[in-house]
Every structure is written in structure tokens, then in C-alpha cells.
Symmetry: C2
Subunit: 480 residues, 2 copies
């Protein structure tokens, strides 16, 4: 195992103090808000030093003209100043003995301008010589709830088990928010931008070693050392699942990646093959990334891929059946004796007594029928897991009172559902009306609280479950 120990990067995740260079007092600097206010909202425990020669205090904190004027030690410095001023800052940080500098500052290699690429290289060399680690430039940095570091006030404050490293800062915002709504919490999240010193490979090694991280997620646009990157990926997947979004796989995307973070995206098919060989789960975008997190965290591994599908309505059930099978799961037909048992609780007309099973609870005996049916299905040895789907945009009615009533019924149904023996999944398939999204949001919040695996479509649920099972199968084959 060539993965190194984690000592080198602990400085960026657990600094004793933080300087914010270029923090300003006015309300117009959204970046001061972003970094300083987030640290205050997260109650970062060490001292925070705004550095600004033109202000006395920022957000109630005393400021210092330069890093060198700060009385105590500075472990971590965040730069919000223009690129042209960063060499001077780096000199001061070296002199001060700062352990790591994060350059939020942009305008380096990603511009494609030679002099700016050279400026970035010079900074990295200065940092290396001075014993300072450099994160960025052109990155939002570190979110680490354990050490109360964040660059967004709305990120969850609880510590979780997912690590995420991303070349794009925007993707970390997007991912944190969507994942949080589904109950996912993070151990560490790093946006590393142009990767002039600390890069995707070192961060991956860190998460592979990190006892606080169970699932590693990655967004990359490119790498500077493909061979080593893939070797480290393969070593990481042998320990924990690694899920990757790889961008820049088209000509326009490559041009975008070059201009976004200076990344060289490389040949996509080569990446695809390499990922497969390394046991990496490659996903298309953030939706699938979060689906994988939810599955690894909240869905207990079932014995097999046979699913029993309940709820939804007629057209929705046909769609769901198609999507389950397209996603890699199977729908065994309901045996006759079970069908007869279910038929004792609900009538034939307007239902589907097969698998998929369409049971309109509101119309047929309500919750008691639902309980009886689920209990019967839970004992069925022919199925390995439950998938319950709700399609709020399909029923005839959409008045708000009706909607509220439905949500209450669903919440009661969820109580019964989550007590089942088999592994289970909840899907609220809301396409894009605000009406549907409100129901989705209510049930999703309940599932997040309860740690139930929730997905916004059957296809996404089926794919994520299949890929999770594929990963564990692969791990099993490797071990044997």
C-alpha cells in the first residue's frame, strides 16, 4: 500500500487559528460574508484574525495590517486579495510560519495567460521552499464540521461519514445542499481549484486513510499525473467506495475545464476504462453522486436484486416497473396465493394485484389495509427489498388542503413501512411543479430524519442500488 499517512494535511483540516486576508468591513464584500461569517456561524473555536490595513475591525473582530502583525500563531490563512498582491502575502506567511495558505483569489493559470500561469508557479515554489502548504488558487477551500470550518453558513453543522473533494467550488455547494436535504452529513469537503500544490491525489490519499470517512466522493476535471491518480484510486476503492464525477469529457467541456481550473481533462474513454478497472463508481452528475451517498449510508445490503414495488397509480407503476428493470433490479411476479391474500384487503377494480402493485390506500380501507398488505409481502421469500413510490403530480386533485391530508396519510404509511424486515426504499417522483415538490420535500425530510433511503425517481433508486451491490460484489470477488 503506497498511500501515505495523513500528517501532512491535518494542518488544513484542524488549524488552531485562521487569518482572513482581505476581509473588509462593509456589507458589500460578499466574500467576507462567505468566509468570515461562516466561521462565526459555525463557532470555529480558535482565534480568527481579519487582515486588512484599512480597517480597525470587521464583524466585531480586531483587524491586523498584515499577517506578520497578528500576535499569536496563524495556522491557516485564507486570501481574498487580488492575484497581484499574493506574492507579498506568501512572503509574509512564510516569515510568520503559517502552516497552510488557501487562495480563494482567482486570475491565475485558469485564464490561459502565460504571465498568470507563471505567477501561480512562482507562488507554489515560494510556498514549497518556505514550508507552507498551498490550497488553490481559485478555490473555496475547506468544510470540516468536526473542526467547525465552513465557507457557507447553511451547510450542516453535524459531522457525517462522507468525504468529498472537488475541483469546482460550485459543485461543493450544490452537493452539500442536495445531500443535506436527503440526510447525508460530511466528514470533510475540499474545493481545491487549480491544484498548484495540494492536489486531487494527495486529498484522495487523505480520505482513504481518514477513519472518519466511509464513502469517498470526487469531482474532477483533470489530473496532472494520471498513472499515480489511478493507482491511488485503486488503493482507495479496496478500502471504501469511491464515487467520481469526471467532467470535461467533450471538446467544449475540455475547453471549459481549462478555463475554469486550468485542468487538462484528457481522453474520456481512457478515463472510463481506468475507472472501471480501479473499481471506481463513475456517475454522470451530482444527482447520481448523492444517490450513491444515500445508498451506501442508508440502504442495508439486500440478499438479491428482486424488488416488490408498491404504490403510485397505474401509469406510474408501469413506468416504475420499466425503470426498476432498466436500472438493474428485477420484479418477480406475485405468486397466486399472495395475490389472493392481498385481494382480501383490496378489490380488483382500480388496483393492480401483481408486481408492480398499485394500491390506492386512500380509496381502499386506508392504513389498516396497507399494513396488512405490507405484512404479507414482507414474509414473501421471493422478494429481497421493498420500493414504495408516490407520484404527487398524477392524482386528479391538487388543492392544498387535499395535499396536506395526503402528506399526513403518507407520513403514517411511512411509519408502518419503515418497520418492515426487508431493506426498503422510498421514492417520491415529483417532476417539476411546486405542488409536487412540496410533497417531495415533506416526505424527504421525514426520511432524512429516520435514515430511510429516499430517491426522487425509481430509475435513480434502482441504478444506485444496483451499483452499490455491484461494488460490494466486486469487493467480495477481489477478497476471495
Amino acid at each position: 500500500m503506497s498511500i501515505k499517512s495523513n500528517a501532512g494535511l491535518d494542518a488544513i483540516f484542524h488549524p488552531r487559528s485562521i487569518a482572513i486576508v482581505g476581509a473588509t468591513a462593509g456589507p458589500d464584500n460578499i466574500y467576507t460574508q462567505m468566509f468570515l461569517k461562516s466561521l462565526l456561524d459555525f463557532r470555529f473555536e480558535g482565534p480568527i484574525y481579519p487582515v486588512n490595513p484599512k480597517a480597525d475591525s470587521v464583524m466585531g473582530l480586531k483587524t491586523y495590517p498584515t499577517v506578520l502583525d497578528v500576535p499569536g500563531p496563524v495556522d491557516y490563512a485564507i486570501s481574498l486579495i487580488p492575484a497581484s498582491a499574493t506574492p507579498q502575502l506568501m512572503r509574509e506567511c512564510v516569515a510568520k510560519g503559517v502552516r497552510a495558505v488557501q487562495l480563494f483569489t482567482a486570475g491565475f493559470d485558469e485564464t490561459g495567460e502565460q504571465d498568470r500561469t507563471r505567477l501561480q508557479e512562482d507562488l507554489a515554489a515560494m510556498a514549497r521552499r518556505g514550508g507552507v502548504r498551498l490550497l488553490g488558487p481559485n478555490c473555496v477551500g475547506i468544510y470540516c464540521p468536526e473542526s467547525r470550518m465552513s465557507y457557507a453558513s447553511d451547510f450542516p453543522k453535524e459531522v457525517g461519514r462522507v468525504g468529498f473533494i472537488a475541483q469546482s467550488g460550485g459543485y461543493t455547494y450544490l452537493t452539500a445542499r442536495i445531500a443535506a436535504a436527503r440526510g447525508v452529513r460530511f466528514s470533510k469537503m475540499v474545493s481545491y481549484g487549480n491544484a498548484s500544490d495540494i492536489n486531487e491525489i494527495e486529498l484522495l490519499e487523505y480520505l482513504a486513510n481518514d477513519p472518519g470517512t466511509d464513502v469517498i466522493c470526487v469531482y474532477i476535471e483533470g489530473t496532472r499525473d494520471g498513472q499515480r491518480h489511478l493507482r491511488v484510486l485503486a488503493e482507495a476503492t479496496a478500502r471504501k467506495p469511491v464515487v467520481v464525477i469526471k467532467r470535461g469529457h467533450t471538446e467544449g467541456g475540455r475547453r471549459g475545464a481549462r478555463s475554469h481550473t486550468g485542468a487538462l481533462a484528457g481522453d474520456d474513454m481512457m478515463w472510463d476504462v481506468a475507472f472501471r478497472q480501479a473499481g471506481v463508481i463513475r456517475v454522470e452528475d451530482v444527482e447520481e453522486l448523492v444517490d450513491m451517498m444515500v445508498t451506501f449510508l442508508f440502504f442495508p445490503l439486500p440478499r438479491g436484486r428482486k424488488v416488490v414495488l408498491v404504490g403510485g397509480g397505474g401509469g406510474a407503476s408501469v413506468r416504475a416497473a420499466d425503470q426498476c428493470e432498466a436500472g438493474g433490479l428485477r420484479l418477480p411476479p406475485l405468486p397466486d396465493d399472495l395475490r389472493e391474500e392481498v385481494n382480501r384487503h383490496i378489490p380488483l377494480a382500480g388496483s393492480m394485484l401483481t408486481n408492480p402493485m398499485d394500491v390506492l390506500v386512500e380509496a381502499h380501507g386506508g392504513i389498516p389495509s396497507w399494513i396488512s398488505i405490507l405484512a404479507a409481502l414482507d414474509c414473501w421469500e421471493g422478494a429481497d427489498m421493498f420500493l414504495w413510490q408516490v407520484c404527487p403530480e398524477m392524482p386528479p386533485f391538487r388543492e392544498d388542503i387535499f395535499s396536506q391530508l395526503i402528506i399526513e396519510v403518507r407520513t403514517q404509511m411511512l411509519e408502518e413501512y419503515k418497520a418492515l424486515r426487508k431493506p426498503k426504499v422510498v421514492v417520491v417522483h415529483a417532476v417539476e411543479t411546486m405542488f409536487g415538490l412540496r410533497e417531495l420535500d415533506a416526505i424527504r425530510a421525514k426520511c432524512a430524519d429516520e435514515g430511510v433511503a429516499f430517491y426522487p425517481s425509481v430509475l435513480r433508486a434502482a441504478r444506485a442500488i444496483s451499483r452499490c451491490m455491484d461494488y460490494w460484489d466486486w469487493r467480495g470477488r477481489r477478497a476471495s
Copy 2:
């Protein structure tokens, strides 16, 4: 051309009077609400007759014990009564001279029970002998804003240019609502359920002939006469675009389709080939269906497939570039002179001055910069269309006040954008938080009002535009 004239089905779309058999007075019958209240809300112009021997009036309308007791002629009867009572109803409708009966009633062939299949066949035979057209059973029927018929109060009351025929009632609800939010309006919508008499083929012929319909959309689970169905499809596509969701393409889905509408779904690959030969645009689900409607209605055909991509942020731009090209469009690189011109309006740092172009309007000179940049790009002969994307879940902030401000800025930007010469598209890529959806909803509503093509993701926009262009290319090749 073997497509028949439309005389036969005009009775179901333009009845002079409607009877609702089984309408009840209590508030507990949601189906009375569904049919009777919708007709009242739509101000159906002819008489509406609730038929119920046990009530004097329903929703303020006088009831009649049977259809035969109705004083005037009845053109169209909707049945909400149990399946067992439908033969008697059909006898009365024949005697009364009713022109068409719609059986919302379920519990026929779709149950898979022999006696119920026989009941359905008997009803169809009675109707045929008696000169009554039969819609269903197991269907929600007709939405036709021109004649003020509807089975949902919230469907748009305005007349539009899209016709939709669907085996599933749920899909018509879903489609109408999602499409309405994007500004699409309908000529006719029919849910035909088990298709015991009026079927997918006859309805398709009707829409192909219908001068009020410019785009035909179809949801099918199966057909009883594949050869004839495909012939009629090919004839229809020669006149107008036909977009199809075909369900039941997996084993579970086929079982679901059988149990949902009694449909025999057939071999999927055969369908796929046949659709391609017939020039049919096959889509995966309702999202893509609505994307095609929006594209055919609101997106003027561009000269070519070269797109210039603006907005979004760094990671979002790289994704968007990848998705444009994956969807079949191309991103030409920005020429140097144009790049220099754009650079006069916004600085290099924190922007992407290439194609994709990431211009953070809020940070760089606001609307005036935006106007100047767009004007320069609009004159660029190297690009055929604009795609402007917004990703509300990616920025650092998400307070509501900030969000409101952003929406106002975007609305102003949209004003400038829509005045451009080139064909243009708006994308708000909101993944699934309520925060993001609110911005999506606000901009979508504005686009719907203005008739601007709006999509919820770049990939969906690119795919829909490509397929729309493919269709017109195919029509051109056929004609030449």
C-alpha cells in the same frame, strides 16, 4: 393517404350535452368532483345531467334516475358506476341515442380475470350494434379546452396546439400540469384506457387530420394492430411531429401494462426500429415529452447546431459544455477578437472568456456589461443560437432576500436576452432544493408568459433541440 376523415370522433370532442352517470351529492365522492366540478369550472356550455336514482340534485344540478329520463338529447355519457351495472347503462344509452359513452369505470380486462374480459367484450359489441362509440373502459376521458371539456379543474382553459393521446390517465394529469408550467397549451387530450372501441390508431388519425393540432404526443403501453398502427404513425409524421412514450418495455413493465390497461406491450426493440423508420420521436418519459413540445412550439429553427453558452459559474459551465455536446450540439471556440471585445466589459479573474462563457453579472458591472456582451455575441456568425443557464443552488448564498434580488436581476437580464436576433434558450438548472425550485419557478413563469423556450437542464435542452432539428432534416430529406 389512408387516414380517415374526422367525422366519427367529433362526437367525443364536441358533444352538445353530457350525462354523468353515478354522480353523487356527498362530498366524499372524489370522482363526482373530478368530472362534474371540472365541467362546471370550465363552463361547459351545453346541459350537464347528473344521473342517479337516489338523489334529487348534485352540485345544484337536477338529477335523473336513468339516462332515459333525461328530457333532451344526450351526446356524451360518463360512467362512474360499478362494472357490473354497465351493461344496463349501455342498453339505456343505445335506446336513448347517446352518441358516445366514456367508461371511467374500471374492473374489466385489465384485471386479467376471464369473466371481466368477457364483460368488456360484450359491452363493446353492444355499443357497436347500437351505434354508440365507447371510450375506455378504465379511462379519464377527454380534455378539450375549445369545447370546455375537462376532468381536472386546474388544467389550462386556453386552447393550444398540442394534441396528446394516452393509455394512462395519470400521465395526462402529469403531462398537462408540467407542460402548462412551461407555457404549453393543448388542442385535445384523451385518456383511452383499455381501448375496447376507440383506440390509439383512430385517435392518432384524428389528430393527424385535426387542423387545431400542430404537434402530436402519444403515451402507449401496447397496441392491438401493430402493422396498422405503424402505418398510421408514418402517415402522421409526414404531416406533423409525433412524439411517443412507449411503456412496458421490460418484463415487469409488461406485466404492469397488462394489469393497468390490459395492453400487450410487445417486443421493445421491434418498436424502437419501427418508430425510427416511421420518423417518430421516441422519448423516455414525460420530462422529455414536454421538452419536445416546448421546442416545437417556442424554439425557432436555427441555421445550425453551434451554440454559445453564457452564465452559470465555473463548474456549471464545464457541465453545461459537456451536456451540450453530449446532447448533439456543438460549442465553437470564441475567436480572439471577440474574446478581446468581451474582455473590455469583464475582467479575466473569476470569469471564463471562452465558450462556455462564465459571466458573473452581479460581480462585473451588472446589466450594462451583460447587454454589451450579448450584443457582441449576437453578431458572431460562428454561432447559431444562445443558451443562457442559471444554477441557483451553486452560489455561496441562499438567504431569501438575496434570492429575491437575484430573481429581479435575472428578470431584467431575460428582457435583454429575449430581444436577441439568434434563436435562444433559457435553462434554470435546479436540482432539488426548495430554494432552487423557487428561482426556477419564477424564471420559468416569465419564460412561459413570453413564449421563450425554457428547460430545467442543459442536457435536456440540447437533446430536445437536436431531436427537433433531426425531425425537420428528416422531413426535408423525405420531401426532396
